[in-house]
């Protein structure tokens, strides 16, 4: 990827591509199935398909931005049920037909007398580097990193992480996980270098690999873990969501259990830019999403992290917050959202941006509503309600 370094900003950034102009496809994963919402070109009207996998838990639904043979794009769904083991489903016709993975992510069988790990569910899916067609990564609960080289048909563990001698130290135990179990998530592939990977864990923190997963280093300097006696450990933080900017991959954003952070590589110390949020709102939340062309712009959706952690919109007044200056200041975006008695919970995968200009911003709630803005958060419209609990939303661009 060619990069330029402007006089105004010292951060290398690839030239911005032309903004997308086609319809947007929202890939909505819920506790009871998946739904596809397809927009008109103006993003004013939405047509729904679904439920797909009705009754199944769909943890993540991701459309490959890379095109394969005949221009087809692979759609992967990480599914389980409350009672059956996990699996992965794959479609190359935008969800009309599905093929089950013949070898879903699974840990190796433990030796005699050893305690083995078992994948409860695949939580996160990330397409591989543009130069590696067919490669995908998956993050599981409990924490595991898996790789497919055949578009999701079969998966193998990334031994450098899963079998690392430090694995138990890095990942902690069951008590360190989320209510749905400990998770590996936020798998980011550096668009300049297929070998450079970032992952995050709840709990465990952020880790970096520069050799395609063979070895890993913690990347948590400056990130608070206020639930531990050592407040700034090398690892053990609770990263909720980490995103690498696609055009400026030296810029990383993190929504953490303990605040909002930004890191500029090659630096290693995160800056708590959430300190610039209004004190009455705080900087606790689950998702962070990025402007596709401006590494200084990001959105978060604050949650109440006081007392027993209600994890709902502070004061019952839901709002997104946006920064356009790398976190130096934040602006409240609540137009169209309930002015009171709106107790939204938005999970870490349930917020997304599209590639249009102006950027569309979307979020889904655990109470089954999808809210959309086609003007970068200035005004919100509810485009769906009465859905099951929303776990994840991805916004994919379509050519027509």
């Amino acid at each position: 990827m060619a990069t330029v370094r402007s006089a105004k900003s010292p951060i290398p950034k690839a030239p911005a591509p032309k903004a997308a102009s086609g319809p947007v496809l929202l890939l909505v994963a819920t506790r009871k199935g998946a739904f596809l919402y397809r927009s008109d070109p103006g993003r004013r009207a939405w047509r729904v398909t679904g439920p797909l996998f009705f009754g199944h838990i769909v943890h993540h639904l991701v459309l490959d931005p890379r095109t394969g043979p005949k221009g087809r794009r692979t759609l992967l769904a990480a599914t389980s049920t409350g009672h059956l083991g996990p699996t992965l489903m794959r479609s190359t016709d935008l969800g009309r037909t599905w093929q089950e993975s013949s070898r879903p992510p699974a840990f190796p069988k433990a030796g005699q007398g050893e305690k083995g790990r078992a994948v409860d569910h695949t939580f996160w899916l990330t397409p591989g580097h543009a130069s590696e067609p067919g490669v995908w990564y998956a993050g599981t609960s409990p924490q595991g990193l898996f790789r497919s080289e055949n578009d999701g048909l079969t998966w193998s563990g990334v031994a450098g992480f899963n079998d690392n001698p430090k694995y138990v130290d890095w990942t902690g135990g069951e008590k360190d996980g989320t209510p749905d179990g400990p998770k590996l998530h936020s798998i980011n592939v550096d668009p300049r270098d297929a070998k450079r990977l970032y992952v995050a864990m709840s709990s465990g923190g952020v880790f970096e690999s520069r050799d395609r997963g063979a070895s890993w280093k913690p990347l948590n300097e400056g990130v608070l873990a206020d639930y531990r006696p050592d407040k700034f450990p090398e690892y053990g933080q609770d990263a909720h969501c980490v995103r690498v900017h696609p055009l400026a991959p030296d810029v990383l954003w993190q929504q953490n259990h303990c605040g909002i952070y930004r890191l500029v590589r090659p630096g290693t110390r995160w800056e708590r830019v959430g300190d610039n949020m209004p004190r009455s709102v705080g900087d606790i939340g689950f998702p962070v999403v990025l402007h596709p062309r401006d590494p200084a712009t990001a959105w978060v959706f604050p949650m109440d992290g006081s007392t027993v952690w209600p994890r709902t919109s502070p004061g019952g007044k839901p709002a997104a917050y946006v920064t356009t200056n790398a976190g130096k200041s934040w602006k409240r975006q609540a137009a169209g959202l309930p002015p009171s008695q709106g107790w939204f919970t938005v999970k870490r995968q349930a917020m997304a941006t599209d590639a249009r200009d102006p950027v569309g911003v979307y979020f889904g709630t655990t109470s089954g509503e999808i809210w959309a803005s086609r003007d970068e958060g200035a005004k919100w419209t509810c485009i769906a309600r009465h859905l099951p609990e929303i776990y994840a939303i991805e916004a994919a661009g379509l050519s027509r």
Binding site: H83, L84, E100, F107
Partner: protein, 86 residues
């Protein structure tokens, strides 16, 4: 031998509630079942060969807790799913 399949797994058996599979042990039978109906085993048995939490397997009217139990040619295997929660 006859194997009874619960409703949530019948998408693997062509929506049949009763199928045939062979094996000298339950592990062997489950492997054969997976050869005939690919993917069905992992939904019931995890990668450590443990029966998943909400799956119950009965052999000739007795519940088994592990898959290394021997089977005879006339045995009947019933797979249940213990549904719970909302």
């Amino acid at each position: 031998m006859r194997v009874l399949i619960p409703t949530p797994l019948q998408s693997y058996t062509g929506h049949r509630a009763e199928v045939e599979a062979e094996g000298a042990t339950l592990a062997g039978l489950l492997a054969d079942l997976d050869r005939r109906h690919p993917g069905i085993r992992f939904r019931m048995i995890d990668e450590q060969d443990a029966i998943r939490r909400h799956i119950r397997i009965w052999v000739n009217g007795s519940e088994v807790k592990a898959i290394d139990v021997p089977l005879g040619p006339s045995d009947q295997v019933i797979i249940f799913q213990a549904l719970s929660g909302g």
